[in-house]
Point group: C2
């Protein structure tokens, strides 16, 4: 090759090399301000991404604290009726347990919103019993809950107090104590309208107080009553108000399902004691987080006292998680999550109704007509996360036995 041609070739190769160098140096060092090197969080982040990358066919998941192989590697934990190392196998003759709900339908939503709602929890995060100010309740989380109800238009929280609990189960116990005469649960009768979900009487009929059954049977009774009102009701999906009247009647309103993915929101509720839970809002039942919105200061203080004696408040890591999840919900004024939730529920009801319409033996509850939803600003029907089945044939006295024929098990 002639020297001139050689020089031209060198110039080109050198040019390419220098350009590549600029590119590499740029990627390595110039982005460092936006993208700092991680130190103590890196191993945990890699571990979490590795566990999340394990494929379980959409019928299971591997967890950081889950089952591990003999080599100590996390493995898939399969959903009911699935099996195999990647959960791709179907267990023949498997029974579906239809006895209680687990709002896992929102799991795909959270997988789509991983980066905004992931938490890196340092081992020194909130080690103290309280939050520095002697309180067991995160002020930041309290603010988010007010904001959440404001954007969802499902409850008026103005001037009301907020108590945190480990799910609405604990808050219900706290509320019964606080509303009882002299804080003695035995001095009041606790009632709930039928139909109610099978879990309600288990919880209400606990050691601490007697559950006196259906509200309607006490409509004309005199005495101290605590009326438990679930709205929308589980299992019939109807919006409900209290039934008993009089100054000796106190009410606990369970609004676990009063969110736009399950029902039209015709008005913001404005009751004296309202319970909500993260389980049905974001699908995080495992976190055991709920809150009560309380009008009366004395009731609020009694509930705080109960929480303090029962568990000394709610775990700080749970409060942090709830905060991060609500931040994601609030960021789009709830639209992304409620749109996802409502459309998923609607699609499932579509499929379910189609299958049920083919049967003359089993039917389900009739729903209220469409109502105007102040949140979605349009007419919506109920899309509850439960169904109330009925066996239509007179000879089918044992409806559970009929369900068993199609591999479903109801409340044992």
């Amino acid at each position: 090759m002639k020297p001139k041609a050689q020089i031209t070739m060198f110039t080109v190769v050198l040019g390419v090399s220098i350009v590549l160098n600029f590119f590499s140096f740029g990627r390595l060092y110039l982005n460092s301000d936006d993208d700092p090197d991680l130190t103590w969080t890196e191993d945990a982040a890699e571990e979490a991404e590795a566990v999340a990358s394990i494929k379980c066919s959409g019928h299971g998941m591997a967890f950081l604290d889950g089952l591990v192989s003999v080599e100590g590697k996390p493995v898939c934990e399969c959903h009911a009726c699935y099996t195999g190392p990647d959960c791709a196998g179907v267990i023949q003759g498997c029974f579906i347990e239809a006895d209680s709900g687990d709002p896992m339908f929102l799991e795909p939503f959270w997988m789509q919103h991983a980066s905004g709602s992931t938490i890196v929890l340092a081992p020194w995060h909130r080690m103290s019993y309280d939050l520095g100010d002697g309180s067991l309740i995160s002020k930041e989380l309290e603010t988010r809950i007010h904001k959440l109800h404001e954007i969802t238009k499902n409850a008026n929280t103005d001037g009301k107090y907020i108590v945190f609990g480990a799910g609405s189960t604990q808050l219900l116990n706290a509320a019964v104590h606080a509303l009882s005469v002299d804080n003695d649960p035995a001095a009041s009768r606790v009632v709930a309208s039928t139909p109610h979900y099978p879990g309600a009487d288990r919880i209400l009929d606990s050691d601490n107080y007697d559950f006196n059954g259906d509200t309607y049977t006490h409509k004309n009774d005199i005495g101290n009553f605590i009326e438990f009102v679930t709205s929308p009701d589980n299992p019939d999906g109807q919006l409900r108000k209290g039934i008993l009247e009089g100054s000796n009647v106190k009410r606990i309103h369970d609004f676990a399902y009063y969110w736009p993915h399950y029902t039209a929101i015709p008005y913001p509720t404005d009751e004296d004691l309202m319970l909500f839970t993260l389980s049905t809002l974001t699908g995080h039942g495992g976190s055991r987080f709920g809150w009560a919105i309380v009008k009366d200061k004395a009731v609020y203080e009694d509930m705080l006292k109960y929480m303090s004696l029962s568990t000394y408040g709610v775990s700080k890591e749970t409060q942090l998680r709830a905060l991060k999840l609500l931040d994601v919900v609030i960021a789009t004024a709830g639209r992304e999550m409620f749109d996802f939730g409502y459309s998923t529920m609607k699609e499932r009801w579509g499929k379910f109704s189609k299958v049920l319409s083919m049967s003359k033996r089993i039917s389900c509850q009739q729903f209220d007509p469409l109502r105007f939803c102040n949140y979605f600003q349009e007419l919506k029907g109920p899309t509850p996360p439960f169904v109330w089945l009925k066996c239509e044939r007179e000879e089918d006295v044992d409806c559970n036995a009929v369900l068993k024929l199609v591999n479903m098990i109801d409340w044992p």
Copy 2:
């Protein structure tokens, strides 16, 4: 320049450029196996490291869910008696609240062990109410607890059952229910030996059952008793056994302080119902995690039932955190944490005793002589996390008033 010299120069520059390219490409792409690029965890990791890097002079901390500035940036939350943006200011005339404990002395240990015990919590982690198998108790965590007692030699857990609770507070309530005649807490008398910590009677004298005061006053009584035994006892630091005898006496043993940082471990305890808590073991009081070790299957099942009705188990994020923390403890057979904990407590007792020895007005409890610790394999004295003060002058009837003179406030 002559073409030959030009070629030589080009060759050298090109050589350097290519070497640099190899270096950069190597750093950018070849390390990818050891150090994979993070995706959805990166923002959270950066946020956590940024919050952790905020300097608060060792007298405070900034938190992910903590106070924020008007610009929305996390700011220092100062410990009691400190103030200012970096907590460097001392509040003059500030009172020290000596009414209850908060085992924050282990915080520096966890800051030194950040990378092994940090958790990256995906928003889809354990959303379900249960752990897939219908259980509310992580099998992995249960295994670690058995291992922990085995290495610490402080409790025999062989063949015993484990129940998780939100701190030992909830487990104490669960145990009283389970041990009561017909599960009715009113049918048994609950007693504890004096001296006991001021919180004990608040908890024991709750709505659900009556606290019948000091065990000694019932030594010759007949009837159903539940005896609450704290060992080492708070506040006197002594190892204790039960006092009442007979087949109608059931015992709940609170071993919150039976760990090598607080006491010599002369033998593994082997009682029927033993309570432990993460608060005093690792210092994570805010997590509300404790466990009961139970010999009798029926009592275990009753406690599980109570846990299910009270809060439907313990938050899954808390269980994951406890697992990670115990893994760090177990990795060195407890040595690193217990060495740190014991030497910190010993140093503090040294300083405290020196100050106290200068006073003739206030004294503290006398300690048991040194005992052989099976864990440390040497003689150790007690180094409890509490002190039992006594006012020596006859005229100092109100000991609290004396403490107030030196800016300390006891139980209000």
